[in-house]
């Protein structure tokens, strides 16, 4: 190439000198210098490629680009199927990647839309907490700590606390459940949020318990529910039957500090009683708040933590002396309590969450989409190379006729760029739809998600980046190929210099097959995991189980009447023959949060459980309705009723795992237990029955449970469980009818099948399973196309060989066998490459799986079989075609 370039330069110089010498001569004959030059040029003739003396004749770069683009367009339309496949691959790759990147970016990387988010931190109590356990999830802090710290510290410029919850909001004539956030008066100020309408909370709105019936609406809720009405300020609404007035609307784009639970309304922390049922705000033995703070300028989280260590120690010691501290605490527990530490974590992203909850699924999702993109790019490169090979002759002829290599390479790049541009544009257009679909899955969990399906600058930049990479990859193959084309080789009869190309393409296809297997395995594993969770998840059969909630306390009932009303409803349900068994509980199964406490056990020895055990208050018939069997003793019955107001604790039923763990060598019936936290108190409760356990709170945990009779305590709300063979459509109205008959003012909420409720918990698992399936499908499709393309090509390049064999008498089958053999080789190599990768990646997804190992034989086997079937299928058509090659056709000169 060096030699060629030099000779180009030489030629140019020679021509120029020729013209000048001629011009000199003409000048000597009497012409003016410019006339002489013009005449000499004219005499020479038109040779633009040798001598671009006259730049006005040379086409401008954008003219060239336009020609190239038009030419590229024609060529693309000329091979519609290939172009369409490449386009589809790019759309899928770019679209999905952009969508998932946008979501992952918002969820994992982006800061809260508040002032100086890097200054924000969140407090975490690390260590043992002595008390009634926590209400809620995530870094919980008792309100008392928040108050005391506020007065004493010097490292934060501001502090605020919040607590999420769910309430019934009545506005106008419609009542619905919405997410809410209780916040201290400093909250909006600390975050630097300014109202869109009206005003936001200040410290004055948060002084006296229960004395601030005011509400702030979120921007989205204001738009959707109140139609953005600017006269909404001052409007009266009812929150859990309490009248309150709207004082302001938060700005657009602000969704609180936890994007997975975007609140519809904010309430002052002093209104805690309206939302939560657990007593006084300053109760030191309960923690339910998340505390955020803004660091002083120049202070790092580490310094703040160190600075507060001493204070926290003082707090702990003082706490022990205070009234309300349990009289006798185990020394080891006390030690652990005093060894607790108050951690200061970065809070720029808002609510910290456990890795497993969100990061892991998001990372897995991102990794899968990256794999899919890789597959798409491999496909594009593969098909582009196929096109390049097919056009070898065309290229060779043009090179021989004098087209410069540079031009041909540019043409290929423009073609690839055109595809990438269109693919990218369509992909980016589709990305919001893909985001929305993914979000609709995520939102079915515990509330509205504050993630947006819209793409912002970063997502678009990523899409652009991906498109550029796609262009390079898909253009590189053909361009390289074009540059290396040797004209004579290509002009030879069939076959020619395509050996190297085939090798590269084979390698690409093997890569594709590997990736397809990885994605197939993923889909299989997630699918199996989901099925396990659904069937074994709760620990009892979730089929044909109906559930709904009635909350008389929200309709103005006093607690005693509420209990009576719930009893009446249950009696009606049990009497009605439409239903099978029915039961009611104060706390719903697997609905987030719930009741828990440590337990004091007077067995052979007096002990208290280390951890808080899940508890519930249930009616007779509850276990029957759930299908949980009583293995020892009895169910609750008419004896376990307290007709008066208030509580009484007499009997309890425990789960099998409770007995296994705490009473392994004793007969459990008759053993006395009580609530922990106060070891001086004698145990008042008698165990009267043991049931098969089930999973109360989360689908993956399995802890010992304790049940109390619902009619022996207060019950402001009840969740009913009804098992019936009838369809949901007939049961639902029957249920509403019964409740209405008891009292028309009572409303039925959360009416659904239990399966539907579990599904809410399986949001991520379902998403992974569904997306996994979709990815596997695309991957297999792309892989099939890749294999088909390579096998077709390979078969074609062996046409002469086939023809010869046929002429020499080989049976038709032989050709087919040859092709299928190659298909098998490609498939096997791809699978072999993938297996160690899967084994290595296994650790990444292990934590997400339930009831299935990463190296599950059934899943591996199925995936391998599917892939082999696909590979064979892809090879079938070329094989069939090749087996029908006649000798004559094979030797045709083309």
């Amino acid at each position: 190439m060096w030699g060629r370039d030099r000779s180009d330069l030489d030629e140019r110089e020679e021509v120029q000198s020729h013209i000048r010498i001629e011009a000199d001569r003409l000048e000597a004959e009497g012409l003016a210098p410019d006339e002489a030059l013009a005449a000499a040029r004219a005499q020479f003739g038109y040779t633009p490629h040798l001598d671009p003396l006259d730049s006005s004749l040379r086409p401008k770069w954008f003219e060239v680009l336009i020609w190239d683009t038009r030419y590229a367009l024609r060529r693309l339309i000329a091979s519609p199927i290939t172009s369409a496949t490449i386009l589809a691959s790019l759309v899928i790759g770019i679209g999905v990647n952009t969508a998932i990147f946008s979501l992952a970016d918002q969820a994992l990387v982006r800061s809260l839309p508040v002032d100086a988010p890097d200054e924000l931190v969140q407090l975490e109590w690390e260590g043992r907490f002595i008390g009634q356990g926590g209400r809620g999830a995530g870094h919980l802090i008792p309100h008392a700590l928040f108050l005391e710290l506020g007065g004493d510290q010097e490292v934060f410029q501001d502090m605020a606390a919040r607590s999420p919850g769910e309430v019934t909001l009545l506005a106008g004539d419609r009542s619905e459940r919405v997410q809410t956030e209780l916040v201290t008066g400093s909250y909006f100020r600390m975050l630097g949020i300014r109202p869109a309408l009206g005003r936001l909370f200040s410290e004055d709105d948060d002084r006296i318990p229960d004395a601030h019936p005011i509400v702030i609406l979120s921007h989205d809720y204001w738009q959707s529910r109140f139609a953005g009405d600017s006269t909404v300020i001052g409007r009266l609404v009812r929150v859990n039957a309490r009248p309150m007035s709207v004082v302001g609307v938060a700005p657009k784009g602000f969704h609180g500090t936890d994007w997975s639970q975007a609140p519809a309304i904010w309430l002052p922390m002093m209104m805690n009683d309206v939302v939560h049922e657990w007593g006084r705000l300053d109760e030191r033995r309960i923690r339910f708040q998340h505390v955020f703070a803004r660091l002083d300028p120049g202070v790092t989280p580490e310094r703040a933590e160190a600075a507060l260590a001493g204070w926290f120690q003082g707090y702990l010691r003082a706490d022990i002396q205070r009234e309300g501290w349990p009289d006798a605490v185990e020394p080891s527990d006390m030690e652990q309590y005093l060894a607790s530490a108050l951690r200061v974590r970065p809070g720029r992203q808002g609510q910290a969450r456990r890795d497993a909850d969100l990061r892991q699924p998001m990372l897995i999702l991102s990794a899968s989409t990256a794999l899919l993109l890789l597959l798409a790019c491999l496909n594009v490169a593969n098909l582009s190379m196929a096109k390049a090979v097919a056009r070898q002759k065309d290229t060779a002829v043009r090179t021989a006729l004098g087209a410069s290599r540079h031009r041909i390479v540019m043409e290929r790049v423009v073609e690839a760029g055109l595809l990438a541009a269109v693919g990218g544009a369509v992909g980016v257009a589709l990305a919001p739809a893909i985001s929305r679909w993914t979000l609709s899955y995520l939102s079915m969990g515990s509330g509205e998600m504050a993630l947006s399906a819209q793409l912002d600058g970063r997502a678009l930049a990523t899409a652009l980046g991906i498109s550029v990479v796609a262009t390079l990859l898909s253009g590189a193959g053909p361009a390289w190929f074009a540059a290396a084309a040797r004209p004579m080789g290509a002009l030879k009869i069939r076959g020619g210099s395509a050996g190297a190309a085939l090798g590269v393409r084979r390698a690409l296809v093997i890569g594709q097959v590997s990736l397809a297997l990885v994605l197939l395995m993923g889909a299989g594993l997630f699918g199996k995991s989901l099925r396990s969770l659904r069937s074994e998840g709760p620990g009892f059969s979730a089929e044909q189980l109906l559930t709904f909630k009635v909350t008389p306390a929200n309709e103005g009932y006093e607690l005693l009447e509420s209990k009576r009303a719930l009893r009446t409803v249950l009696d009606e349900l049990q009497r009605d023959r439409t239903f099978g068994s029915a039961g009611v509980a104060v706390f719903p199964v697997m609905d987030g949060g719930g009741w828990g406490n440590t337990v004091l056990i007077e067995g052979a020895e007096r002990m208290e459980t280390q951890e808080s055990l899940p508890m519930n208050a249930v009616s007779p018939g509850y276990f029957d309705a759930l299908g949980v069997s009583i293995v020892l003793g009895r169910d609750f019955d008419a004896r376990d009723v307290w007709e008066e107001d208030g509580w009484v604790v007499r009997s309890a039923i425990v789960s099998e795992s409770f007995v296994e763990r705490y009473l392994p060598n004793q007969h459990p019936l008759g053993v006395r237990i009580d609530f922990g936290g106060d070891p001086s108190r004698p145990a008042r409760v008698e165990i009267v029955g043991v049931v098969q356990g089930y999973r109360e709170h989360h689908l993956r945990e399995s802890t010992p449970q304790v049940f109390f009779p619902i009619w022996e305590r207060t019950a402001g709300t009840g969740t009913f469980y009804v098992r019936s063979a009838s369809a949901f459509e007939t049961l639902a109205p029957a249920v509403r009818e019964i409740v209405r008959e008891v009292d028309p003012v009572l409303s039925v909420t959360d009416l659904r099948t239990f399966e539907a409720q579990i599904d809410q918990h399986l949001v991520f698992e379902r998403m992974l399973a569904e997306l996994g399936r979709a990815f596997a499908l695309f991957a297999t499709l792309l892989g099939m196309i890749g294999v088909y393309a390579v096998l077709s090509f390979s078969a074609e390049s062996r046409t002469k060989e086939m023809g010869l064999r046929a002429a020499l008498g080989a049976p038709q089958r032989a050709a087919a066998v040859l092709i299928l053999g190659e298909a098998l080789r490609l498939g096997t190599m791809g699978i072999a490459m993938a297996l160690p990768v899967i084994w290595a990646l296994g650790g990444l997804i292990e934590s997400q799986l339930f009831g299935v190992e990463v190296v599950d034989l059934q899943t591996v086997g199925t995936a391998v079989l599917i892939l082999l079937a696909v590979v064979f299928g892809a090879g079938a058509v070329p094989a069939w075609r090749m087996s029908h090659v006649s000798a004559l056709e094979a030797f045709r000169v083309d």
Binding site: D10, E11, E13, E14, V15, S17, H18, I19, R20, I21, E22, D24, R25, R41, A42, Q43, F44, G45, Y46, T47, L50
Partner: protein, 120 residues
């Protein structure tokens, strides 16, 4: 495609003929491209050679066949130019072509110029 009007006197050249003209021009010494073009034009009475540029593909071809060789030098006007000269094979080839042409010309002349009535 030319940039001059077609002079009806100018005879269109076949590829091979240009080769001969070049060889002939170089028979008596080296010359550069422009010199060769002018020489052909003048000695043919301005009736041969349409575009100077069409010389160069021919020169390249002759160079590939090793009938001529090229070398950079300086022209009479102090311009840098490439000079061509015949190789020994080139001299030989010229003799071959010359005799071939003369035979052809003689034959054509006989056919075209003879009076049919003179045919015996």
């Amino acid at each position: 495609m030319t940039t001059q009007e077609k002079n009806p006197n100018r005879v269109e050249l076949l590829q091979g003929t240009l080769d001969v003209l070049i060889l002939r021009t170089l028979q008596h010494g080296r010359q550069h491209g422009q010199g060769i073009a002018r020489a052909i034009q003048e000695t043919s009475g301005d009736s041969l050679l349409v575009d100077h540029g069409s010389l160069y593909p021919a020169l390249k071809r002759l160079g590939k066949k090793k009938w001529i060789r090229a070398e950079w030098g300086v022209s009479a006007n102090n311009r840098r130019a490439r000079f061509y000269e015949l190789t020994p094979q080139g001299h030989e080839q010229l003799e071959v072509e010359k005799s071939g042409w003369f035979r052809l010309v003689a034959a054509m002349g006989r056919v075209l110029g003879a009076d049919p009535s003179e045919a015996q």
